[in-house]
Amino acid sequence: MTNAIITPLTQALAEGKLSRGDLKSLMQRSNRPALLRLVVWVGVLGLTSTLIAISFNSLWIWPAMFVQGIVLVHHFSLQHECVHYSVFRTRWLNNVVGYICGFIIMLPHKHFRYEHCDHHTYTQLPGDDPELIPTPETIGQYLFYLTAIPYWRTKFTELFRHVAGRLSAQEKRFVPRVEQGAIFREARIMAGLYALILAAMVTFSWWGPLWYWFIPLLLGEPVMRFVRMTEHVGRPLVAQMHENTRTNLVSLPWKFLCWNMNYHAEHHYVSSVPFHALPRLHDMLKTHIHVQSGGYFGAHRDILRQVLTHRGPGLDGGARDER
């Protein structure tokens, strides 16, 4: 018999955590929940933009831009769902929305899709998981990561590398040869559009994008780094999904912003399940996975405890990330 590879899903089915009937029910797609959420999403963006508009010429503009930035950086969560084609039943809508989100946060969609595939295949395996965030060894490293400076450095380097028609050795592993040209085209189109916007800003003294988009994005990205760290950082560097990933129990506004991706272990178990069904999947898997109470701060208390006690995230408490 030609055997399929073992995945978290096949394990969950084999262990009776899920049945095929559950799976079929959970995976059902619909456009309606996402379209309704998008209406609210645009409303929230309208509200935060209004806050910026009414606080011009005062110091209040900075907190207003920060709040706008928190919403803007969460386009990552929506884009991530679109990578999995689970936001909308209409398949092409996932691509359209994913590319728009990627443009807002400078994350080329096709490249992210291929990178994210390897993240799901090799979750938390150093050297193989391209999205692995190293567990900080010092408070200094922890704080520096949260500034988002290393993140932006990586993203700008990637974009320029792809514009120049090059891939790193790691990227060559996850981008199929037939898709390399598309990755370069995507980066060039994206960079070209940014250049056009910058040129228009200078030519027409049009500074709206600076106050409503660029500065808020920079101010908000540390929040996204804070959120992203809670998914895997400090969890064991092992292949077992019930060990290497956290599910974070967070409040409704955060669930809304992250499109239920706080149910991260559930998502890794069955990545075909759309955001609106993840709470149901959580009820089925919650005794099987690592559930972190205390919200995002609970996860960071766990991370900081490891940093301060110099205990790494290995199963034996001693192994450290290599990168």
Partner: protein
Amino acid sequence: MGVRAMSGKGAWHDLIALDEIEEGWVTRVDLGARRLAVYHTPSGFHVSLALCTHGGADLCDGYFDGHVIECPLHQGAFDVRDGRPISAPATRALKVFPCREEDGRLQIML
């Protein structure tokens, strides 16, 4: 699961009773060394190899909608009528087999 009749290069093989195929969904069937996926679609039945050409995951655990089967691991997708990949990261076609209904059973040409 015997060989029913010769036709051209291949032969028709019994695969599964029609009433064992899940309506509007994908059903896993093993035939000898092959793991196959049987799809009940709006245009009838279709059969392909069950493993994704990208990462080797079992498509029978994936999401199925209309004529599209989606891999449960990375969400690459294929049109089950001809096996062509329709979404990244799938880039290689899925092998599909001709099939027919005969005496209440589904047969495929191998």
